[in-house]
């Protein structure tokens, strides 16, 4: 009985799903699948040619690069993008001294309270403060940016596939709109206030190219600030903001795996020895 009911239910589901298949297949074979501009022009992100120092299981931070990247963030990106989850004190991890971090903190103004009157004021930030946002709220952010809100950058490299490569590609990937796109997909050409970038998911984004000229920042360490250099430095910096424990994590991993390997080999030898007798054991 239960098998009979089972067979009927099984055939029922099969019938309905195959009906769906037949109708789906019919539509699929009769309707032309229209190509979209995204499917033709979207490009996969790639990192700088030499890769990053933090790549691979043995990677490490290049502190000089992170400091340069921080400089790019501060001088360029911070005009529009917040860094909500990063505290100013975290900069010590980039190799700045305590005093340098204090001085750096003091260069930012954060909302505070006047200790005498209790009125809202601005005060210089302390290392324990978080990086201040460029806009008081998301409405102000959207209003200043053609209705697009510049996303918080703290986690950006983890919030996109191959995030470090993505940020680099996005910053270096702005192009003229290809003639082919203008011809074949006139609807996909950027509306006013949007910019064409084949690395962005729908090709047109509201961020004007932020890195436009070599030498836009003057690096303290004398590195030549080409666009590609600034892009990879800020991508490295954002990799750090997204995962400050990245290198510690990998460095912790090796001894853990080493210990486990050792323990597993011991366990294997113990197992072999214990089972040696059992192969013939008949009692």
């Amino acid at each position: 009985m239960i098998r009979l009911v089972g067979i009927l239910i099984g055939l029922g589901f099969t019938f309905v799903v195959l009906l769906a298949f037949v109708t789906g297949a019919y539509t699929w074979s009769t309707e032309e699948v229209a190509e979209t501009a995204e499917s033709v022009f979207h490009e996969t992100a790639h990192g700088p040619e030499a890769g990053y120092s933090f790549d691979g299981p043995f990677g490490t931070w290049d502190l000089a690069q992170l400091q340069r990247g921080y400089q790019v963030y501060k001088e360029v990106c911070s005009a529009c993008h917040s860094l909500n989850y990063v505290a100013i004190r975290d900069l010590e991890q980039l190799g700045y001294s305590e005093d340098q971090v204090k001085a750096e903190a003091a260069s930012f103004q954060v909302p505070g309270i006047n200790p005498d009157t209790g009125e809202d004021t601005m005060r210089p930030a302390l290392p324990t403060d978080y990086f201040p946002s460029p806009y008081p709220n998301s409405v102000a952010a959207a209003a200043a940016n053609n209705n697009a809100i510049p996303p918080d950058l703290s986690l950006m490299t983890k919030a996109r596939h191959h995030g470090s490569d993505y940020v680099y590609s996005l910053l270096t990937g702005y192009q003229e709109v290809p003639a082919q796109l203008r011809e074949e997909f006139p609807d996909a050409t950027p509306a006013p206030g949007l910019y064409y970038n084949p690395y962005f998911a729908n090709l047109n984004l509201a961020m004007a190219p932020p890195l436009t000229a070599d030498g836009q920042v003057t690096y303290a360490d004398g590195t030549e600030a080409t666009i590609s250099q600034m892009a990879q430095d800020v991508a490295a910096f954002l990799t750090w903001t997204a995962e400050p424990q990245l290198i510690k994590r990998k460095q912790t991993g090796w001894p853990v795996l080493g210990f486990l390997l050792f323990a597993t080999i011991l366990a294997w030898l113990a197992k072999k020895q214990i089972w040696a007798g059992a192969k013939r054991r008949k009692d």
Binding site: I7, V17, F21, G24, A159, W268
Partner: protein
Amino acid sequence: MSFPWAKEYTPKHPVMRFFDEKLPLPRFVYNAVGAGYPVPRNLSYFWNFGVLAGFFLMLQIVTGVVLAMHYAANTEVAFGTVEHIMRDVNWGWLMRYTHANGASFFFVVVYIHIFRGLFYASYKPPREMIWLLGVTIFLLMMATAFMGYVLPWGQMSFWGAQVITGLFEAIPVVGPPLKTWLLGGFAPDNAALNRFFSLHFLLPFVILGAVILHIWALHIPGSSNPTGVEVKSESDTLPFHPYYTAKDGFGLGVALLVFFTFVFFLPNALGHPDNYIEANPLSTPAHIVPEWYFYPFYAILRAFTFDFILPAKLWGVLAMFSAILVWFFLPWLDKSPVRSGHYRPLFRKFFWFGLIPVMAVLFYCGGAPAEEPYVMISQIATAYYFLHFLVILPIVSSIERPDPLPFSITEAVLGSDDEAAAGDAAPTAA
């Protein structure tokens, strides 16, 4: 409860004797996983996965309790407290990555455990109750994992919750109010997040209870084995300790090597980048997908695209739940007198060339966007899935002629079994 030749616990040390009289916990352990529990001598490494599942359950409970000390279930701050754990809590990142990847590995291990049961037909008498409890555990795991994924309140948390709870709306009449009642609102919000946290904390302990019953039920007939022939005499078994403690210890080592490679070097490989974007009810992600371990069932859900009497969405929901519920009925759908797939030539072909590839396809399509050709492929795979369990299995198991079985486990291992064949075999335990 065990075989008559099981060794008796005889404490020598006075402290242990004291314990044994007042609270025989050591005796319990000895009989459960010690020298007092005889186990078939021929278990393969596929029998390691039960213990591994138990390990990952404990790991989830330990890391979860620590995470709960630093997490706050409030939509305003939940995402931020997770980042606080990642950045400021000592070893918080290790706790979180262990917990997140631990869930994935728990499912890997349990999927292997379940498919071991399917191949060796471990669900057949006398082990039906073990199997029923197992499927119940699996359902509880799915509920727990789903609610856990909502807690970080990222984009996939929010939209996953939106889609899954939206399934209730497919139920006629009571569906929409039921959904509102479950969520405590019309969409996932603070009320939903709070109750999901509460339940996510509770359910693992319910699972633990179900696991205890599962293992209790297992200890009545004892484990099956790769031949599917029941234990006949003492020579068919070995004491759990030291034989299987050693084998399980080695298996655990290998599992942890793979697991910690993910935790330390690929911690986000099994996750979705969108969940590092804070939940935003106004911005729908391009592709909403659940966690990878739900993909096969998600593919089945989306395979139903045609309104046949009932709306397609309702068919999808019914099929998705039925896909798991059919497992409950396997002990009665499979008529074969033989358990192990090794001795069932036709059954084995359908298992390796039907069910396994179809599961692989469903896994793949569940993660792919809901576009052609993935939908058509999932439709064919879904059709086979139901045919396999509900039509092929009952028919094949009643018509197929199984290969000859070995006389006993001992014969299968050693080539002969004088002791049991001589007729003076110890009575078979029931």
